[in-house]
């Protein structure tokens, strides 16, 4: 069609809501700018992601957006684009090799830290914590790192379980159930994304356990809803994937129009609880 520019997008995955939102942001802004997007997803497979970038290069796209499977490993793909002088932008996860025009992301370590700090406050610095983890992805490793950093100076906050929930709700539910079996006196759970947190919530509800706090990550609508309904899920780290998406396209538009773009474009992260969500809703209805 009559698109001004064609942009190749290599997502990390499309199996998670976060990336659906990021994609939605990309699409809505691209429509405004009259860009055509070619969206692919690697589903955590680095080799596949590089192949996708190579396909973009073969297709001679005008720019490439990558959400790298791995920050270093994506280097060869980026270099390939560099060789053909196709500008590369990264979103959400940075690349440490190859030349990237601009990186647009929220900081996963900072997000993890927010979750940790929230728990420190909520538990008054003492208690038993479990992590429903998915330690196969860099962004998750960063979240957990930030989370642990925040707890580091509170020796009475103990991480008593760290299980793999695969980042999907059904497996997270199974893992959380086992954790609850082993630890009757658990005080809090950190889910590394909302599927993990909601899986943990399913487990807590199944056991009718009360007094336990869950913290999620991403504030997807089902999670926000659970927070509003005063379930065990009390708070969520929010990134704004849609904003990451729109900002990424805006940055590209700036680049094409010859403006100078910064090497990193930070997108805010925050943490929301019931009060914050209600405030936001109130603002929206105004």
């Amino acid at each position: 069609g009559g698109a001004d520019k064609i942009i190749g997008v290599a997502l990390l995955t499309r199996a998670h809501v976060f990336y659906r939102d990021l994609e939605a942001g990309l699409r809505s802004e691209a429509a405004k700018q009259n860009y055509e997007l070619i969206i692919t997803s690697a589903e955590f497979d680095l080799g596949k992601q590089i192949a996708q970038i190579e396909d973009f290069v073969a297709r001679k796209v005008d720019a490439i957006i990558v959400c790298p499977v791995d920050s270093r490993g994506i280097g060869p793909g980026i270099r390939k684009a560099n060789d053909e002088s196709i500008p590369v932008f990264t979103a959400d996860i940075a690349a440490t090799e190859g030349m990237v025009v601009s990186h647009i992301a929220s900081d996963n370590v900072a997000g993890g830290r927010l979750a940790g700090e929230y728990l420190v406050k909520a538990l008054n610095g003492r208690g038993k914590i479990a992590i429903i983890n998915h330690p196969a992805v860099t962004s998750v490793l960063d979240r957990v790192r930030g989370f642990k950093e925040a707890l580091a100076s509170y020796p009475q906050l103990k991480i008593v379980a760290d299980v793999n929930g695969g980042g999907v709700r059904d497996k997270a539910l199974q893992a959380a159930t086992d954790v609850l079996q082993a630890h009757r006196d658990l005080d809090a759970i950190f889910g590394i994304n909302d599927d993990s947190a909601l899986g943990a919530l399913d487990a807590v509800q199944q056991f009718r356990r009360s007094g336990l706090i869950i913290i999620g990550y991403d504030a997807t609508p089902p999670a926000a809803d659970a927070i509003r309904r005063e379930t065990a899920l009390k708070a969520d780290v929010v990134q704004y994937p849609t904003i990451i998406g729109t900002v990424t396209i805006k940055t590209i538009a700036d680049y094409f129009s010859g403006r100078k773009v910064p090497a990193t474009v930070p997108v805010e992260v925050g943490i929301v609880d019931k009060a914050a969500l209600e405030q936001m809703a109130a603002k929206e209805t105004q």
Binding site: R14, V163, A182, Q206, P221, P222, D225
Partner: protein, 317 residues
């Protein structure tokens, strides 16, 4: 006397994996105080029920020397379809009937499609069901745009969360499915035909068995039970997750094969499958209770499966 011994060894050979399972139970009981509680054991059966129900259908399929890789995607899409329909603006009883009906019907249709491709076009089951696996997974994502289906009517979650006496409903369903399947396999004409087709399909045909029909029925059964599991899972997580059931196919096939069913068809039992499923389920549960690190867990799971099957083989000598 020799007949006696023959019977005994045959029994051991058939349930050899049971010994491994009992060892496993003892082992975890000793190591974790949380393991051998009624609550936790019910919990394990609840967790296992989802894959175990699928494994029943898979046992039938593998007995015919086939394979069904589409089960995991079926779980996802059946869950998605059911939950999408559930949200329709109709009275609750209608919505439930329609929703569950749609999910199950989809399972039946998918199984029928698989069976027809396999029998009428003579495409090997591996390819047919691999294709269906990617097709249904893709479809689940297309329908939901990658987002879970949620805000379901009150009460849907009770299906999987409810208990009768103190036994979780999915556990009960699993037990019923196994009992019926065991009966069907050992006592009915259909069961006999399943073994015959798997043992020697050409000979079965020449003995007057409509082998194509048996195969189609077997894949329909597998589709139906996968869809049932998908609905139960959706109820457990109270949402339709397009990414549910990832990699279930391998877990389920492992349970069936650990349970002694031959991938070359004609040999196996659903009792073996039940033990195989529980063996793997208990292993995961026990390791989580012991807080074994997730990477290390993988290593341990692999080793234990090898050891268990090895025990089984040594007994059979």
């Amino acid at each position: 006397m020799p007949v006696e011994r023959g019977k005994l060894t045959a029994l051991l050979a058939e349930y050899g994996i049971g010994a491994a399972f009992i060892l496993e139970l003892i082992f975890f009981s000793l190591l974790s105080p949380h393991f051998a509680t009624l609550d936790n054991l019910l919990n394990v059966t609840l967790q296992t029920s989802i894959t175990a129900i699928i494994a029943v259908g898979m046992t039938f399929v593998i007995l015919t020397a086939g394979i069904d890789l589409s089960v995991g995607s079926l779980v996802a899409l059946a869950g998605v379809l059911t939950t999408v329909v559930l949200k329709a603006d109709v009275p609750a009883p209608v919505a439930y009937t329609l929703g569950v009906g749609t999910g199950l019907l989809f399972g039946v249709l998918s199984g029928a499609a698989a069976g027809i491709f396999i029998t009428k076009f003579r495409i090997t089951p591996f390819i047919v069901t691999l294709a269906l696996m990617t097709i249904w997974r893709g479809t689940a994502f297309v329908i939901t745009e990658g987002r879970p289906v949620w805000e379901l009517p009150e009460g849907f979650a009770d299906l999987a969360r409810g208990r009768i006496l103190f036994v979780p409903i999915p556990t009960l369903i699993m037990l019923v499915v196994f009992a019926v399947a065991h009966f069907v396999l050992t006592r009915t004409k259909f069961g006999r035909y399943v073994y015959a087709v798997g043992g020697n399909s050409e000979a079965a045909r020449l003995a007057g068995i409509r082998t194509d029909r048996v195969l189609i029925q077997v894949y329909i059964l597998s589709g139906l039970l996968s869809a049932l599991s998908g609905i139960l899972l959706a109820s457990r997580v109270n949402s339709g997750q397009p990414n549910a059931g990832l990699m279930y196919e391998l877990d389920v096939i492992a349970a069936v094969v650990v349970g002694g069913t031959s991938l070359f068809g004609g040999r196996g039992t659903v009792i073996g499958t039940l033990i195989g499923s529980l063996l793997i389920g208990v292993l995961r549960n026990g390791l989580n209770l012991l807080n074994v690190e997730s990477y290390v867990q993988q290593v341990v799971v692999g080793i234990v499966i090898l050891l268990a099957v090895m025990m089984d083989r040594l007994r059979k000598r």
